[in-house]
């Protein structure tokens, strides 16, 4: 499974980078989201992935009796997901605002007109 995850990380990063190199603002945003997902899986992979043993202590005991999945990457990813949501939602609303102002999705239309006059 690890090898599949490695391939997925690579492809998520590649598509993310490809999308942020586009002129469209929506694509730029989608690209950032893909990069975020890729990073999350990369962190997940850094802790050893374990099947079927979540880091939750059994009801009857006070400490773990068996092996358990690494909780630190999970805590990190959880934070990352939430923060990236804050970023994404703000970016989406900002995008709407920009679209209402310049009536375009093209990043090049945002360049200040003074520069062209020079």
């Amino acid at each position: 499974m690890e090898l599949l995850l490695v391939i997925i990380i690579g492809l998520l990063y590649a598509s993310g980078v490809y999308l942020i190199l586009r002129r469209s603002m929506v694509k730029l945003l989608l690209g950032i989201m893909l990069l975020g997902n890729g990073t999350n899986i990369l962190i997940f992979l850094l802790g050893k992935i374990t099947k079927g043993s979540p880091p939750v202590i059994n009801e009857a005991y006070k400490v773990f009796q068996d092996i358990y999945a690494d909780p630190i990457p999970q805590a990190l990813i959880l934070t990352a997901i939430v923060i990236s949501f804050a970023l994404t939602s703000f970016a989406i609303v900002l995008l709407k605002r920009v679209y209402a102002l310049v009536d375009s999705d093209d990043l090049d239309d945002l360049n200040t007109p003074e520069e062209e006059d020079l």
Binding site: Y13, L42, F44, T50, P54, Y68, A86
Partner: protein, 769 residues
């Protein structure tokens, strides 16, 4: 002494708030500054004549050895008197010259800044402080040359002057630091004792070379001379003050100051002789072909600076005395001639020698001033210029090498040129017939013609009492340059000897040249044709190439397109990461430790890859948004399989929310248009795939590292014991790292406020296109 430097600086900055007031009513306070400083330095003459040097020390940056050390000796005093004395004349003159000019206050702020900086240069006892003031003179000169900032020629000249002197300053700084490093001190007074140490050092030629570049650029020596004629675009008071009497002499001051430290070697003397000798002859001949009054004066100034360099190059006691006297001689007559030119320009609106004539009838007092200056410049007996010329000839004739004759010949040719140039500038506009157009030319205010008249008369008075004047002004200056008692005493009459004959011959030939050399545009054009091989062409080519290079750089790296920045950052990261991966050795995959695959995992991965393909290729906005959410759900399922229930829940919620928000906001946007070319898409795809491959390789590399689980086991063991929670991820977030989570909440709240206010913000009608 510190206060004399600060006075000008403070007055200059006070002109920012009070400029309008001074311009309207109180402009008379401006000339008072140089007057007070002049009196201050006059009062110091007795002390310095007694052979005492005044020293002042104020800590500035003691840790770097940069302190405000000032030292007043004969040489500094001569220059300080020139700066404040000529400054007094210029300030009175300039106040009338620029009356009613919109930038009147600005002009005097620059001029005061310059005066302080110049005083700082000649008074500094610390070579680094000297350098700071040195650069300040270049900067104030830049503003003054470009004072008529609506003229392109003015701006170009200012830029060229700043580039040349700034470039020289750069070399000078290197030379000064090197010299201070070798000598172990930055104090000039201590450097005097280190002459042998520095001269015997193997890097001595390098130091001398660097300092020479600094001095030659400032004092307009060939091949750096061309900025000075360009600097004549400045208002005439500036040309008179900076570009003939004071600033350009800073290079000469530097050479004179360092003569006892670096001088008396073959490199020193021969370089100065060659550069000074060539410059003085070249510029003296060049001056004769000019038709613009200021052009003549500019080239004769370059020639005079060449003479001074040449004299310092001779290095004998007689030559040093000649230099110390000639500095004063030249400053007096050249400032006068410039001010006269300014009056002519001010009243007739032309400086063209072919058009001017007969002005003595309308500008009689100005004519007297110009005549006195021209006679002093020609070296007529009983003028101060005569004394100066005698000393120069004595210095060359008594120089003990086989070259004596040649050196004297050079000096004679130069002086003939200077005589003729002096008459062209001082006599020609006033003689002959008055053109009818100039009949109603009238005298300007007395405050404009009195200063040149005084300076011009001084040339005569000093010439009549040379012994007395020389003792006061030049004796200690010469002593400071050679660092011993020169026992100099100027005399008006030396008897009939070779020097007198040479002087008279120079004068006669000069007058003959003056009468036969009729200034004409044709001759000027002939000389101008040589410009294609002149050094300024090389400099302007360098300047243009630099401009093109920086233009290209900006266009390439700062073109304002986001994706262009992205691609550069990413390619750079790829190179760095790729290199790091390459040198970190081969990657081994531990096949036995991998988790086995099951069919549903393969299914999820296939779904994820399919969604990814759709996002990259689709034209529909909605499809791509939905595909992103599919990816999110796939990742969510993977979290479920691999023991991360909390992550799965969060991912599920967040992904749903994001998609809903996206769809709500963007449903009315048009579909993507394909605007980039195939080639660009291919290039981006290659870059993107490269980045993905590198990240995959990094992930593989990480897999082969042993897992460190100490921290994880700490949380695992203590989750219930310390935090009373059985879900370890939860206890980490809300207990062990609770503060972090709290700040995360703050970030979320800020984002929420941002989202809310952006949604509530109504478009104003004016903002709609």
């Amino acid at each position: 002494m510190l206060f004399t430097v600060l006075t000008g600086l403070i007055t200059s900055s006070l002109l920012i708030p009070f400029g309008k007031l001074v311009k309207a009513k109180w402009s008379i306070v401006l000339p008072l500054v140089p007057v007070l400083l002049f009196v201050f330095y006059l009062l110091h003459i007795p002390t310095i004549l007694g052979g005492t040097n005044l020293v002042q020390h104020v800590d500035w940056v003691p840790s770097l050895g940069v302190n405000l050390d000032f030292r007043l000796d004969g040489l500094s005093l001569l220059f300080a008197l020139l700066i404040t004395g000529i400054g007094t004349a210029i300030f009175f003159y300039g106040r009338t010259y620029l009356k009613g000019h919109p930038y009147f206050d600005r002009f005097f702020a620059y001029l005061l800044l310059f005066m302080s900086a110049m005083l700082g240069v000649v008074l500094s006892n610390n070579i680094l402080t000297l350098f700071v003031f040195w650069e300040l003179t270049s900067i104030s000169s830049f503003f003054l040359i470009g004072f008529n900032n609506d003229s392109k020629a003015s701006r170009d000249s200012a830029l060229s002057a700043l580039s040349i002197t700034g470039l020289g300053g750069f070399f000078l700084l290197a030379g000064l630091i090197y010299m201070g490093h070798i000598a172990g001190t930055f104090m000039i007074s201590e450097l005097f004792t280190k002459h042998d140490l520095i001269v015997d050092h193997p890097q001595y030629p390098l130091i001398v070379g660097l300092i020479f570049i600094g001095a030659f650029t400032k004092s307009a020596q060939f091949p750096f001379h061309f900025w000075l004629p360009g600097a004549m675009k400045a208002p005439t008071p500036v040309s008179a003050y900076l570009h003939s009497a004071t600033m350009v002499k800073a290079g000469i001051y530097l050479l004179a100051r360092f003569t006892p430290i670096l001088g008396h070697t073959e490199i020193w003397n021969n370089t100065l002789l060659i550069v000074g000798g060539f410059t003085m002859v070249f510029a003296a001949i060049h001056a004769l072909f000019r038709v613009d009054l200021k052009g003549i004066l500019a080239y004769s100034t370059i020639s005079a600076l060449g003479v001074l360099t040449f004299l310092l190059g001779l290095g004998t006691q007689e030559a040093i005395i000649a230099a110390a006297v000639f500095i004063l001689v030249h400053a007096l007559y050249k400032a006068t001639l410039f001010m006269v030119t300014g009056i002519i320009d001010h009243e007739t609106h032309t400086r063209d020698l072919t058009k001017l004539g007969g002005l003595r009838k309308v500008l009689f007092p100005v004519f007297i001033a110009a005549l006195l200056a021209a006679l002093s410049s020609a070296g007529l007996p009983s003028t101060f210029g005569f004394i100066g010329k005698d000393l120069i000839y004595e210095a060359t004739l008594h120089y003990k090498t086989n070259w004596t004759l040649w050196l004297t010949a050079l000096a004679v040719i130069t002086n003939i040129g200077l005589v003729a140039a002096g008459f062209m500038a001082g006599l020609k506009p006033f003689t002959g017939k008055l053109p009818p157009g100039f009949a109603n030319v009238h005298l300007p205010y007395p405050s404009m013609w009195i200063p040149p008249l005084i300076l011009g008369s001084l040339g005569l008075i000093f010439g009549v009492f040379p012994g007395y004047i020389g003792d006061i002004f030049n004796y200690q200056a010469a002593n400071a340059i050679v660092q011993t008692d020169t026992a100099m005493h100027l005399k008006i009459w030396h008897g009939f000897n070779t020097v007198l004959l040479l002087s008279l011959a120079t004068l006669l030939i000069g007058i003959v040249v003056y009468f036969f050399n009729k200034p004409s545009e044709r001759k000027l054009a002939a000389v101008e044709r040589l410009n294609s091989i002149a050094p300024q062409r090389i400099f302007s080519i360098i300047g243009r190439s630099t401009m093109r290079l920086s233009n290209w750089y900006t266009q390439t790296f700062h073109n304002g397109y986001l994706r262009s920045y992205h691609i550069k950052i990413i390619v750079f990261a790829e190179i760095l990461l790729g290199y790091k991966l390459w040198i970190s050795g081969p990657i081994h995959i531990k096949w036995d430790s991998l988790t086995p695959l099951s069919w549903y995992e393969v299914g999820i991965v296939a779904m994820l890859l399919g969604a990814l393909y759709i996002i990259v290729t689709t034209r529909s906005r909605l499809t791509s948004v939905v595909s992103t959410s599919v990816i999110g759900y796939c990742i969510c399922l993977m979290f479920v399989f691999y023991s991360a229930p909390d992550l799965a829940m969060t991912q599920f919620t967040i992904d749903t929310l994001t998609t809903v928000l996206f769809v709500l906001v963007l449903y009315k946007l048009p579909s993507f248009i394909n605007i980039t070319s195939r080639w660009l898409q291919l290039r981006d795809a290659v870059v993107a795939l490269g980045f993905g491959v590198i990240l995959s390789l990094i992930a593989l590399r990480v897999l082969q590292e042993p897992n460190v689980t100490e921290i994880s086991s700490f949380y695992g063991e203590n989750s219930y014991l310390l935090a009373k929670g059985k879900n370890v991820v939860n206890t980490i977030l809300v207990d062990f790292r609770g503060l972090d989570t709290m700040f995360e909440t703050v970030v979320l709240s800020i984002a929420a406020i941002g989202v809310y206010s952006l949604i509530r913000l109504r478009l104003k009608s004016s903002e709609k296109e």
